[in-house]
Amino acid sequence: MPEKPKIAFYWCASCGGCEESVVDLAEDILMVADAVDIVFWPVAMDFKKTDVETMEDGSILATMLNGAIRTSEQEEMARLIRRKSKILIAYGSCAHMGGIPALANEFERSEILKYAYEDAPSVINSQHTYPEAVYQDKSRKITLPVFRNIVRTLDQVVDVDYYLPGCPPTPKLLKQAVLTLLSGKLPPKGTVLAPDSALCEECPRKESKPADLSFEHFTRPHMILSDPEKCLLAQGLICMGPATRAGCEALCINGNMPCSGCFGPTSRVKDQGAKILSSICSNIEAKTEIAIDRVLDEIPDPVGTFYRYGLAASMLRKKIAEEV
C-alpha cells in the first residue's frame, strides 16, 4: 500500500477559530483522515517541534498555517514548516492578510505592552514588570519569544503557495482545497482558493440594491432594525461585500449582518480598504466639505471598518510613530 500524502496544520497569532473550522468539516473529516496522514496538528494531537525537525525537508505535502506572525517563535515555526512542506497554505484571514491581530499595527509596540501590563483595568503591576526576551536569574537564563514591532502576514515572512481566505475559511472551501491538493491539478502559485469576483455576485439581496445608490447617512447594525431582505448598503450599513472576494455564500448577510471583509479583496485589487473607500466616498450624497465630514463622522473607526482583516497586507500596513 502506497504511503498516504502527509498534511499538517499549525497556528500562529490566531484565535483558534481556524482550527475549529477544520473540525467543522464534520463527517467529511473522516474522508480527509482516510485520504491523508495528519503528521502535525498541535491543537488536536500531541506532536512536538522535534518531531517536525526530524522530518525530511519537503516531506509534508501541504501545511495549512493559520494566524498572523508577531513573535520570533512564530517566525521560527513558519520557517521550519515552510522547509518541511511542499505546499504552504496561508489558512484564514490572519495568515492571509494579518487579520484582527494586525489591527495592533495601529499602535506602537510600547503602547501595546504598556496597556497590557499596566493600564488595562484588570491589571495590577505596581513593580512595572514587563516581559523580557532574556531574563537572567542568577545562574538560570530564561528566554521568551521576542514580541516584534509589527504584525505580519505569513507571506511577509516566508514564501506562500496558496491562500485559503476567511475568518475562518468555510468547510466547503477547505474540502475543495483538500480535494484540489489530492487531485494534483494545482492552480498557479499565489492563487487565493476562492472565487475571484466580489461577494455581491452571490448575495441573496443583490436584486434589492438600487442602481442610483447615494449615501446620505451611515449607521451601524445595533442602531437600526434592519430590513432582512434589502441590500444593507442601501440601508446605510457599511457592507464590505462589493470589495470582498466571494466564496462564503454571504454567511453574514444571511445572518442579517453586513459583510466585514474577511475574504479580502479580489486578485485585481491591491488594497481592499482603499477600494471600498473610493467606492463609498464617490457615492456620498453630500457635496460640501462640512456636510461630507458630518457623514464620514458616522463611521467611528474607519481603519477597523475598512481594514478589519487587511491592515498588515494593505499599503497602510502600520502606523509609524513620528520619532522612528
Binding site: R148, N149, I150, R152, D155, Q156, G190, D196, S197, A198, L199, C200, E201, K206, K209, P210, A211, D212, L213, S214, G241, P242, A243, A246, P265, T266, S267, R268, V269, K270, K275, I276, S278, S279, S282, N283, R317, K318, I320, V324
Partner: protein, 684 residues
C-alpha cells in the same frame, strides 16, 4: 503579489528623446545629463536630445530610429501633451508603430517654466522621465474608433451672437435649433437705440436678422425655452428642451394683439421687463413691437384668471384664431445634435451694490441700460430723455466704470462702457442739448473708428473729467447745488476735488457673467474662468472652443465684448461647428474603460458615478456594461470599482504603478522591494 517592475515582461526597446524647445527647456534643464541618465535605464535602446523635437527633422529622427533599431516604445520629454501629443503619435504611427506605444513627459510647463533652480529642474526632469520609462513597459497597442457626427446644431441664446451663428450655419444648409430663454430673441442688442461708433440704429440692423432666423427653413426657433438636460458626447449629444407655457398656441398666433386690446385691464398696470420697469404692460403682452416670434404671452402671476379663475376672458373672445389656451403646460422636446454653441450673453452689474452712487435712492440716477431704453423711440418715453419729474435735464453726468476695474466689485474692464458712454453722451446732447460730463478713469477706445468717435465727442463740447467718482449726493453745499444731484470727484488732471451739480446721473454699469452661468457650465461640462465667464480652450489659439469637444462658446458669455466682436466670435464658432460637421466622423480616443464581465459582481457602485451616463446595468447578465462610444475615459468608475473589475486603456493599474515606482525612486523608495522595508520595520 503582482509585479511592478516588468518582471515576466519581455524587455522593450525604448527610444527616448528630450527636447530643448529652443531655450524654453534647455536653459533650465540639463538636457545632456537627462539624456545620459536615461540611456542607462533598463529597456532604453536609444537616448537623444534635440533642439526642436516637434519639427519635421525631430519627428524624422524618431521614425528613423524606429526603423533602424526596431524600437517598440517611444518616450518624448518636451512640452504639454495638449500641444504635441498628437504630433508625436502621428510620427510614431507613420513609422509603423502603434501610436499608443508613445508616451509624453511634460518637462516644460511642469518643470522648466515653473522654477529658477537648474539643479532641481534637472532632478525633477529625471524623475518624470524615469516614471515614463517604467510606464511604457506596460503599454499595449490600442485602436481608435470612429463615430459619425450628427450634423444638427443646438445654439443656446438668441442674442446677436446666437442669431449670427444660427444664420451662418443654417445658410450652410445645416439644421439649427435656436433656444432662447426669453419670449423673444434679440438679446441686449434689441434694447439699444444706436450702436457705436457708426450710430447705426440697432433695431434697423438687428430686426432683419431676427426675421431671417424666424423664417429660415433650417432654423427651429424655440423662444421662451430652456435646456433641461444634455447627455452624450461630441457628434452625438441628446438634449431635452423645456418649452415654457406661453398660454398661447405659437403656431396659431399671428401677433395681431387684439387680445391685448381686449384684456379687461384697460390700462397697462405691471412693470414692463423689456423697458426695465420704466413702462407698464398688461398680463397679456408682447415684449416689444419687433419681438420675434411675434407671439403674445401671458404672465400667470398677474393675469386675473390664473389667480382667481373669475376673469371674463375677453382676450379669448377677441382671438378669432382660438390661439389662447390657458390650460397649456410646459412641453418637452428631445433632440439629437452633434454640437452646441453657447451664446448665453451677460448681465449688467447691479448698481445697487455701489450705494455711493445713489441708484435706487435718488430717482434721477439711472443705469446706462435704462438710458438706452429712454433714448429709444419705442422706449418708455418715446425717445425723450426726461428726469423723473418729466423735465428735460439741463446737465447730465455719466459715471464710468461702475462695477468694473474695482477691487470691491469686479476687477475686470468691461470693455464696452467707454464707447457706449460716449454714444450715450452724444445721444443725450442730441436729444436735450444738456451739458454732459463724462467721469472716467481711463478712456479705452481701441477699435476701428472708436478713437475717431472719441475725438468727435470732444469737439461736440461734451466734458471729460478724469477721476473715479467718489459719490453722488443730494446734500447741497451751494446755491447752484439746490435740487440737484452733486457729483463729488477728484479731477486727477487738475489735481482738485470738484463738485459738479447735475439734473441726471447715468451709471455706466459693467458686464458680468449671468447668475446661472455656473449651472450652465455644469450642465454642459465646461469650465469657467475665475470671474465666472465661460472658459475657452486656449485664450489665443482656441478662443471659441471649450475643453469639452463639440461645445463651443460665442459672445459675451466668454467675456465682455462689443457687437462686432460677438459677431466675429459667433462666426468663428459657426466655422468650428461646420468643420466638425463636414469632417463627418470623429475619432474617439481609445483611453476608454471597460468592464471585465467575468469578474463584475453586479454591485452597481459604478452606475451613478458616470458623468456621461455611459454605464448601464444589464438585467440579463446582472452585470454592469460600459458603452464605449459614450465613455470619455475620465476614470471615475475605474477608481471606484470595489472589485477592480473595470480596466481603463492607457491607465491600467500596472502602468500607473510602474509610473509611481519610477517617480518614487528619487526618495529611495522601491515599491517592489517593500519586503525589505518590512524587515526594517520588524526589528525597529
Amino acid at each position: 503579489m503582482s509585479t511592478f517592475n516588468g518582471n515576466g515582461q519581455s524587455i522593450p526597446k525604448i527610444g527616448f528623446y528630450i527636447c530643448h524647445c529652443g531655450h524654453n527647456i534647455a536653459s533650465m534643464v540639463d538636457v545632456d545629463k537627462v539624456q545620459k541618465y536615461t540611456a542607462s535605464l533598463p529597456g532604453v535602446t536609444v537616448s537623444r536630445d534635440y533642439k526642436y523635437m516637434c519639427s519635421d527633422p525631430g519627428q524624422e529622427l524618431i521614425q528613423k530610429d524606429i526603423k533602424e533599431f526596431g524600437l517598440n516604445r517611444i518616450v518624448v520629454a518636451s512640452c504639454s501633451p495638449l500641444l504635441h501629443e498628437h504630433t508625436f503619435r502621428v510620427a510614431t504611427e507613420k513609422a509603423g508603430l502603434n501610436p499608443y506605444f508613445f508616451h509624453m513627459v511634460n518637462i516644460r510647463e511642469n518643470v522648466s517654466w515653473v522654477t529658477g533652480d537648474k539643479e532641481a529642474a534637472t532632478d525633477k526632469a529625471i524623475d518624470l522621465v524615469r516614471a515614463a520609462i517604467q510606464r511604457v513597459f506596460f503599454h499595449k497597442p490600442l485602436v481608435k474608433k470612429e463615430v459619425p457626427i450628427n450634423p444638427d446644431v443646438l445654439i443656446l441664446g438668441g442674442g446677436i451672437a446666437g442669431i449670427h451663428a444660427a444664420l451662418t450655419i443654417a445658410n450652410a444648409g445645416k439644421k439649427v435649433y435656436l433656444v432662447e430663454r426669453e419670449p423673444t430673441i434679440g438679446g441686449h442688442m434689441a434694447m439699444f437705440d444706436k450702436t457705436f461708433p457708426t450710430l447705426d440704429c440697432a433695431a434697423c440692423i438687428l430686426t432683419p436678422k431676427m426675421s431671417a432666423v424666424k423664417n429660415h427653413p433650417n432654423i427651429t426657433l424655440w423662444s421662451y425655452s430652456e435646456v433641461e438636460k444634455i447627455e452624450g458626447f461630441v457628434g452625438n449629444y441628446r438634449a431635452t428642451i423645456k418649452r415654457k407655457p406661453r398660454y398661447v398656441i405659437e403656431e396659431l398666433c399671428v401677433g395681431c394683439m387684439d387680445c391685448i386690446d381686449a384684456c379687461i385691464y384697460k390700462e397697462a398696470k405691471y412693470p414692463d421687463e423689456f423697458n426695465l420697469g420704466m413702462s407698464k404692460r398688461k398680463p397679456i403682452y408682447i415684449p416689444f413691437p419687433q419681438a420675434t416670434p411675434q407671439v403674445v404671452l401671458f404672465d400667470p402671476d398677474t393675469c386675473i384668471d390664473f389667480k382667481s379663475h373669475r376673469c371674463k376672458k375677453t382676450c379669448i373672445e377677441a382671438c378669432d384664431r382660438d390661439a389662447i389656451d390657458l390650460k397649456q403646460t410646459a412641453k418637452y422636446e428631445e433632440i439629437n445634435i452633434g454640437s452646441v454653441i453657447l451664446a448665453t450673453g451677460f448681465k449688467t452689474y447691479d448698481a445697487k451694490f455701489a450705494p455711493q452712487y445713489g441708484y435706487g435712492r435718488f430717482p434721477n440716477v439711472f443705469t446706462s441700460l435704462e438710458l438706452e431704453r429712454m433714448v429709444n423711440a419705442s422706449g418708455p418715453t418715446s425717445g425723450e430723455v426726461l428726469t423723473k419729474e418729466g423735465k428735460k435735464p439741463k446737465s447730465v453726468g455719466i459715471v464710468h466704470c461702475v462695477g468694473s476695474r474695482d477691487e470691491k466689485s469686479n476687477k475686470w474692464c468691461s470693455k464696452v462702457c467707454c464707447m457706449y458712454s460716449l454714444k450715450l453722451a452724444h445721444l443725450i446732447k442730441e436729444h436735450t442739448g444738456a451739458e454732459v460730463y463724462n467721469f472716467y478713469i481711463d478712456m479705452r477706445t481701441p477699435g476701428k473708428g472708436y478713437e475717431e468717435f472719441y475725438d468727435k465727442l470732444m469737439n461736440e463740447g461734451v466734458h471729460f473729467i478724469r477721476g473715479r467718482v467718489a459719490e453722488v449726493t443730494d446734500w447741497a453745499l451751494a446755491a447752484e447745488e439746490e435740487n440737484k444731484l452733486t457729483i463729488r470727484v477728484e479731477d486727477t488732471l487738475v489735481g482738485v476735488v470738484r463738485r459738479i451739480p447735475v439734473d441726471m446721473v447715468v451709471l455706466s454699469v459693467g458686464l458680468e457673467p449671468r447668475e446661472d452661468a455656473s449651472d450652465v457650465r455644469r450642465m454642459f461640462n465646461i469650465s469657467c474662468s475665475n470671474e465666472g465667464f465661460f472658459l475657452e480652450r486656449h485664450p489665443k489659439l482656441a478662443p471659441v472652443s471649450t475643453f469639452t469637444d463639440g461645445i463651443f462658446i460665442a459672445g459675451a458669455c466668454q467675456g465682455p465684448k462689443d457687437i462686432p466682436d460677438s459677431v466675429a466670435q459667433a462666426g468663428a464658432a459657426a466655422a468650428e461647428v461646420l468643420s466638425l460637421i463636414c469632417a463627418g466622423t470623429i475619432e474617439l480616443e481609445p483611453n476608454t474603460a471597460s468592464i471585465t464581465e467575468e469578474f463584475c459582481s453586479g454591485c452597481k457602485s459604478c452606475i451613478p458615478l458616470c458623468p456621461y451616463s455611459a454605464i448601464s446595468f444589464k438585467e440579463d447578465t446582472k452585470k454592469a456594461y460600459i458603452n464605449e462610444a459614450l465613455c470619455k475615459g475620465c476614470g471615475t468608475c475605474v477608481a471606484a470599482c470595489p472589485s477592480g473589475s473595470i480596466i481603463q486603456n492607457l491607465f491600467e493599474d500596472e502602468q500607473i504603478f510602474g509610473e509611481i515606482e519610477g517617480l518614487l525612486r528619487f526618495a529611495g523608495i522601491d515599491l517592489a522591494g517593500s519586503e525589505t522595508k518590512g524587515k526594517e520595520l520588524e526589528h525597529a
